[in-house]
């Protein structure tokens, strides 16, 4: 017998009475009675679906890992040649090995991870605060017309203002302490997170909203079940950019607002090396800042984004 969703059985007026339960299957209307149609559909389905192809480990190494490794080796090689040929004197252009020695010194002093952690923990805390402020702000601007008209242009304009421009103001307001640094990070990251969410919401196809409304997802349920999940890719892109802005702003703030009270982060490391005219130390600090920024992007945001895009079939080469 065809046991199927009886929802059609409730078609009558509310309280349709005992009849609703007595709906019986039509004799001989079993699904298996249409083997022709079933076979036809199975055939069409089989013809039109392709099994997803998963790249082999060798392929990943060859296509994804090898090119960046080669690029880095070439850059370091060129650097080494330039340094060996004394294009500039050593105090201006030390070789890769000198920079490596500076890093090794930090390692042996035991301060390397302390310095990195000092900056990363600040960056993470600042980013988390930006997230907590930027998300509701973005949603508000995206959904409330008056709010959008009022602060939408300002919010996107703020993105083109380098957050280092806030450092002098923040120092005057807050003095040389952590408040200054967090203020600069927030002013850098909040607009990009909010703008990412706004862009994500704006790009939600109206069809999804209509489909959601016919299913009964209206008001807050519409936001929760349709709008936010649909806006997720744009939001994630905003988060990624928000992290980049947090990290940049943090470095700018640490570089300018250095004071013994603030402890040593990567920015202060860079500034200290400059005041000591230690070019190897300067380059080592730049490398560290770059590596931490790229590392967090690769370890946190890239997998998150790839997962979301892949599940929606939006990643090139997977659909």
């Amino acid at each position: 017998m065809a046991r199927t969703e009886a929802d059609a059985g409730t078609a009558g007026p509310p309280g349709g009475g005992p009849d609703a339960g007595s709906a019986r299957p039509r004799g001989g209307q079993d699904r298996s009675e249409h083997p022709d149609l079933a076979g036809l559909e199975a055939g069409l389905d089989a013809l039109e679906t392709r099994a997803p192809v998963r790249a082999s480990l060798g392929g990943v190494l060859l296509n994804k890992v090898l090119p960046p490794v080669v690029a880095v080796v070439l850059v370091v090689g060129a650097w080494q040649i330039a340094a060996a040929a004394d294009v500039k004197p050593d105090y201006m252009l030390p070789g890769p090995l000198d920079v490596w020695d500076s890093l090794a010194d930090l390692w042996y002093e035991g301060t390397l991870f302390e310095v990195i952690w000092h900056s990363v923990s600040r960056g993470a805390l600042g980013f988390a605060a930006s997230l907590a402020i930027g998300t509701p702000l973005g949603l508000l601007v995206a959904r409330v017309r008056a709010v959008r008209a009022a602060i939408g242009p300002v919010l996107s304009g703020l993105q083109s203002l380098p957050s280092v421009a806030w450092v002098p103001a923040a120092i005057i307001w807050f003095g040389l302490n952590d408040s200054t640094i967090y203020a600069v990070v927030l002013l850098g990251a909040v607009p990009s997170i909010a703008n990412g969410l706004i862009a994500g919401v704006d790009q939600v196809p109206p069809l999804f909203l209509r489909a959601g409304r016919t299913l009964g997802a209206t008001g807050l349920r519409g936001i929760r079940y349709v709008l936010l999940p649909a806006a997720l890719p744009g939001y994630l892109a905003g988060l990624k950019q928000g992290w980049a802005f947090s990290w940049r702003s943090l470095m700018a703030a640490e570089l300018i607002a250095s004071s013994p009270d603030l402890g040593i982060g990567l920015g202060q490391l860079l500034e200290n090396a400059r005041t000591n005219s230690d070019m190897s130390g300067v380059l080592a600090a730049i490398w560290l800042i770059l590596i931490v920024g790229i590392g967090i992007e690769l370890l946190v945001f890239a997998p998150l984004e790839r997962r979301v895009l892949r599940s929606r079939g939006l990643l090139a080469g997977t659909s």
Binding site: A6, G9, A23, L37, L215
Partner: protein
């Protein structure tokens, strides 16, 4: 409500609603734009769809077919006239599948169940039954982009059925499919309809499709949309799109449709 109990689909399922139409449109008009400069899209449409009836709305571009469905679906309000859908919010299927890509096929169906208050414990099983009904057994965990166009429309149909509405509105749901798949889905829809006896209001600009599927074909004129003519189709189901009876009536209806279109060239 009673909708949360599982019974079985059968021809008697909607008989208690006999007497009252499943959809009643009374002198429905719709205009867009500012008063004074408004453009009338629909003008005085009166139409009843009986419980369990399959009606096709046919018309050229600009006849307001989709506008009419939006009104019945409650996505928009008529400028004047009345729309009654006693069974509650109708289910609506679009030309595009409109499935949510962040959910699997099964979860799309489950969302429809969830939004009408089906308890969590029942949702999974019911979604699988609905997928089984459109012959997609085992597709529960499939992502939307992994499905072919025809499969997506069947999932969309399952999701629409999950709404448990006695009225199913379809807005050119097969227009974007290839001819072979469309033919198979016609058969599938006829079969499902004969099992569930839903009331179907199906919009199309494809005359043969209308004659292949419907019990009644309603021809709309364009700009403004008015009901121009109606045909009751007595050909027995299941029909095929190649049947001589379907063919003959299609020729006749096409002639009237062309006549409607020609009128616009004469002004």
């Amino acid at each position: 409500m009673a909708a949360s109990t599982l019974t079985e689909v059968g021809p008697g399922a909607v008989t208690e609603a006999v007497g009252a139409p499943a959809v009643r449109l009374g002198q429905v008009s719709k205009s867009f734009g500012r008063p004074g400069a408004a453009q009338t899209v629909l003008d005085g449409i009166s139409l009843d769809v009986a419980p369990g009836e399959f009606v096709c709305l046919l018309g050229a571009s600009g006849c307001g077919k989709s506008t009419l469905l939006n009104l019945v679906a409650g996505l928009d309000r008529p400028s004047s006239g009345t729309i009654e859908v006693p069974g509650g919010r109708p289910a609506l299927m679009f030309q595009e599948h409109a499935l949510f890509p962040w959910l699997t096929a099964g979860r799309n169906v489950e969302l429809a169940l969830r939004l009408r208050g089906v308890p969590r414990a029942e949702r999974r099983e019911r979604a699988e039954r609905l997928l089984d009904l459109v012959r997609l057994r085992g597709a529960h965990g499939k992502r939307v982009h992994e499905l072919s166009g025809g499969m997506r429309q069947r999932v969309a149909l399952a999701r629409a059925l999950a709404q448990a509405s006695p009225v199913l509105l379809m807005d050119e749901p097969f227009a974007a499919l290839d001819a072979i798949t469309r033919d198979v889905l016609h058969e599938e829809l006829t079969h499902l309809w004969s099992e569930t006896r839903l009331s179907v209001l199906f919009v199309t600009h494809n005359v043969r499709e209308a004659v292949r599927l419907a019990q009644r074909v309603v021809l709309l004129s364009s700009r403004p949309g008015r009901i121009a003519r109606e045909w009751t189709i007595d050909l027995p189901q299941p029909r095929r799109i190649e049947d001589p009876g379907v063919s003959d009536l299609s020729v006749e209806i096409t002639e009237h449709l062309r006549e409607e279109i020609r009128r616009h060239g004469q002004n």
